[in-house]
């Protein structure tokens, strides 16, 4: 099979999956939920208002017509309106997305760095106490519910490091005179550290295990033996000959897990009141604001599909031996 075929096949599968995801999204919210409006909780939601909304949203039409309307709206990038604020879902979610991305990036960065360091060390010192300590600590963090780890962070780490535990910015910043861009940036970072660290710790175990097994395989290769025979230092063997080749599966793994990571931040953001997509989801659940929940779910599903595709294509680019 040629490379073009492979790429085409992957893209086609991704496109089909997007369609399935959109349909599932419709079915879940329109068919199974019965009537989203009857569950809506807010002050101005009278029976009349609900009736008006029902007509406005087209809920009084047949399911098939509703499905076609939904697809037509989506093709214009219209995700509907929030039931609560009357704002479009895109406008409501956009600021959250902008807050989540840097936090997830920082968390992923933490976990990759930690994962590579721990993975390399445990692979190099395999069978020793260091190996087992690294592996079991990774497995331990991996077994912790993220929301619980977040609470532990607030309880035990935040105080010691003097870091803020909730929100995204210091409310007093900029009240007494203008805050410089630098101050604002530092403030943002300080608020991001704890959620990102929690995410990083939850994730790193998995990365460490994969780096380790990948390193062990690479260190058994003949060219590593050659490198050793040439008298290269351990450092050069590990970093230049070992890790470089061991990184291949890691690159794709990170791309693959990124979509799930975004989904996994939901409870972490809730614990730290970090106003990202996760917190938006929690608030939408609380207020039974289904269009927002639906929009966020579609967004998360699409991000997983896109990252999956990226992982597939990246793997193909990095390792031309891939044939299927």
């Amino acid at each position: 099979m040629t490379g073009f075929d492979y790429v085409g096949k992957r893209v086609l599968f991704a496109a089909l999956t997007v369609f399935v995801a959109i349909t599932l999204n419709f079915v879940l919210f329109r068919t199974l939920s019965g009537d989203a409006l009857s569950a809506l909780r807010c002050r101005q939601c009278t029976a009349q208002f609900k009736e008006y909304q029902r007509h406005e949203l087209g809920l009084d039409k047949s399911k098939w017509v509703q499905y076609r309307m939904y697809l037509a709206d989506l093709s214009h990038g219209n995700l509907g309106k929030s039931l609560r604020s009357e704002q479009s879902v895109t406008n409501e979610l956009w600021p959250s997305i902008k807050n989540t991305i840097p936090m997830v990036a920082l968390g992923t960065f933490f976990s990759i760095v930690l994962g590579i360091i721990v993975g390399v060390i445990t692979a190099w010192r395999r069978g020793t106490f260091v190996d087992r300590a690294g592996l079991y600590s990774g497995l331990g963090f991996y077994s912790m519910p993220p929301q619980w780890l977040g609470l532990l962070m607030v309880l035990f780490v935040a105080g010691a490091l003097g870091l803020p535990t909730s929100g995204i910015k210091d409310p007093t910043l900029g009240i007494l005179g203008d805050a410089s861009t630098w101050d604002v940036l530092v403030d943002r970072l300080r608020h991001m550290v704890l959620p990102a660290l929690t995410l990083g710790l939850v994730l790193y175990g998995e990365y460490a295990l994969i780096v380790r097994s990948s390193m062990l395989e690479t260190l058994g290769e003949d060219y590593v033996l050659t490198a050793r025979a040439k008298g290269l230092s351990n450092w050069a063997i590990v970093w230049r000959h070992g890790l470089r080749n061991a990184l291949l599966p890691i690159v794709t793994l990170v791309a693959l897990s990124l979509g799930y990571v975004i989904a996994g931040t939901i409870t972490i953001e809730y614990v730290f009141s970090y106003p990202g997509v996760g917190l938006a989801v929690v608030e939408a659940i609380d207020q039974r604001d289904y269009p927002i929940l639906q929009g966020a779910f579609l967004l998360l599903t699409l991000s997983v599909i896109v990252f999956n595709l990226v992982a597939d294509l990246l793997y193909f680019k990095l390792d031309p031996r891939v044939q299927t």
Binding site: T17, F29, L32, R132, Q147, W148, Y270, A296
Partner: protein, 317 residues
């Protein structure tokens, strides 16, 4: 082959099953990781089973002041409602474990059935079922659970079904691969040649070979399910009438245990969850390793890696 075949030949699969089970037992008892995991699981299952006996009253009863620190009266302190933490943890054990085991069973049932049918029949059935699996894998599990829990309502049965309906995909793939290999073995072909029907082939020859792997995978799924329950409950979508470990974490958070510096209300339920998940993961991985020696090399499992002689590869190839 068919000349020597007689109905008795079909039965000579029996020793193979025995040795496989025996192998599993042997491997597990030799593996400290498995022993550790099984011990943890055993202790917690025992606590859960005995919890009606251990608890003299409803664990949610107020027996002290709010957020009383650990002391002689209350070994693990009290929670935001003045209830004894230890009683709550014991009372929460059966709920958390039921969710874990029941959801894992649902998931193993779906995954096992899909994997069996797909692997055994192949062809169009295989393509259709695997395509379905591919789609379900891509849908992010946590948001889907949240959405379904939010839409279907808050009850224990719903949570179990939701979790079970999402986590079957890996099981299905694993079982399919295993069934495909078993199906091609000589004794299965021989049984088929002797006129055994599909039901008999699956029930008598394939299922017994695949079952241990399915069980190992189910143990791993228990960990996922307990994890997922804490997740759903933390977001306020758990069964409101029941106490589970996930609910205790949620209560600690919503009752501002942090502001009260009540570490005992936060740390203990999470620790129970973590330890049980660790136990399941260790046991499940050790079982999978024992059953599937091919996974031993280059696998993710946490185990001591045998030092591989640098020249060893040349001998084996």
């Amino acid at each position: 082959m068919s000349a020597t075949a007689n109905p008795a030949a079909v039965e000579d699969v029996q020793p193979a099953i025995e040795s496989r089970k025996g192998l599993l037992r042997r491997e597990l008892l030799r593996n400290p990781q498995a022993i550790f995991g099984l011990t943890i699981l055993g202790i917690f299952v025992l606590i859960a089973l005995l919890s009606p006996v251990l608890l003299s009253q409803d664990p949610k009863t107020k027996v002290g002041s709010v957020f009383e620190p650990p002391g002689s009266a209350h070994v693990l302190g009290t929670d935001g409602g003045g209830a004894d933490m230890l009683a709550l943890l014991v009372g929460g054990a059966p709920v958390s474990l039921i969710v874990g085991f029941a959801a894992a069973a649902v998931s193993a049932l779906i995954g096992g059935a899909v994997g069996l049918l797909s692997g055994f029949f192949g062809g169009k059935t295989d393509v259709a079922l695997m395509r379905l699996t591919d789609y379900v894998i891509v849908i992010p599990d946590v948001p889907l659970m949240i959405v379904v829990a939010a839409l279907f309502g808050r009850s224990l049965t719903n949570i179990i079904l939701i979790i079970g309906a999402i986590y079957w995909t890996t099981t299905a793939r694993l079982i399919r691969a295993q069934v495909k290999s078993v199906r091609e073995r000589v004794y299965v072909k021989r049984a088929r040649a002797l006129g055994a029907g599909n039901t008999r082939l699956i029930g008598r020859h394939i299922l017994p070979q695949v079952a241990p792997l399915l069980i190992a995978n189910t143990v791993l799924l228990v960990a996922y399910a307990i994890f997922a329950e804490t997740f759903i409950t933390f977001l306020g979508l758990g069964d409101p009438s029941l106490v589970s470990w996930g609910r205790l974490i949620e209560n600690a958070f919503t009752d501002d245990a942090i502001l009260n510096n009540a570490w005992w209300a936060i740390v203990t339920p999470g620790l129970c969850v973590t330890i049980v998940i660790l136990g399941c993961t260790m046991t499940g991985q050790a079982m999978e390793d024992a059953l599937n020696p091919r996974l031993r090399v280059g696998h993710l499992s946490v185990k001591r890696f045998r030092l591989r002689p640098l020249a060893g590869r040349l001998d084996s190839e």
